[in-house]
Subunit: 138 residues, 2 copies
Amino acid sequence: MVQVTLQTQSKLSAAGVRPTRQRLLIAALLWKGNECRHVTPEDMRREIQQEGEDVALATIYNTLHQFTKAGLLREIVLAGGRTYFDTNLSPHFHYYYEENGHLEDVAISPKQWHSLPSAPPGTEVKGVDVVIRVGERK
Amino acid sequence: MVQVTLQTQSKLSAAGVRPTRQRLLIAALLWKGNECRHVTPEDMRREIQQEGEDVALATIYNTLHQFTKAGLLREIVLAGGRTYFDTNLSPHFHYYYEENGHLEDVAISPKQWHSLPSAPPGTEVKGVDVVIRVGERK
DNA sequence: CTGTGTGCAAACTCTTTGCATAAGT
DNA sequence: ACTTATGCAAAGAGTTTGCACACAG
């Protein structure tokens, strides 16, 4: 059973998200350890069920999107339309293992970050998504 | 009315794709000009209908994926699950204009290309997708 | 108390498969 | 000829919306 800590509650409040039962549960699962996580809505549902709870899949989508809008998560969309939510908010890239659908963070240096193209005039960068698709060497 | 040229036919044959009516039509539309194009399956269907022809949407998906497997196109998946097919096969990045869903190539230098992380041991890079999401400056 | 915000059922969209059929060799 | 490969209808997955209800203020 995950603990819904006070930290979890204040995390949501601070982000301007009402702490409801479902949200607290999802938040507690997302940030229960100290490592960064990459979860799909389906993953999340499975974890919830392992806790003996249940939340409608649509609610999980809504909640994860709300967390994203509130700046608590980052959304990553991959080929195949798979959507992952990433608890790592710092600038980084991703390795995507095509064999098993696993996603892994790639830490990058500020230098690498700044060597990316800047925004065209009159626009600003809203986000940068870098996915390096890797597979077994043949 | 697009011309199905001999060039189009040999392009498909060379790639090991049988030149059927539908494929020739789609190929002719994709490579009719000299610029690179970014099309969604829906875009393609609209163009086909403007030619007074019709091809089932599923066939368009199949065909675009076959062209991709044959190395004639590149597939790009964006947030929201939108799929684009790109006729530009050389290494490059993309600007994605969130306002209107428009996609634009960003030419990059070999230096920029090589400053990207390499594959983890035992794996090889299958592809690199870099999308810079941009929007109006506020 | 009351109005905003929430959670979920149902609907929708985009995409893929299975099979009759047509096309290429 | 004839067998593989194709094209499309129908099914499937993943995601979003609309509305009754609950909760925070």
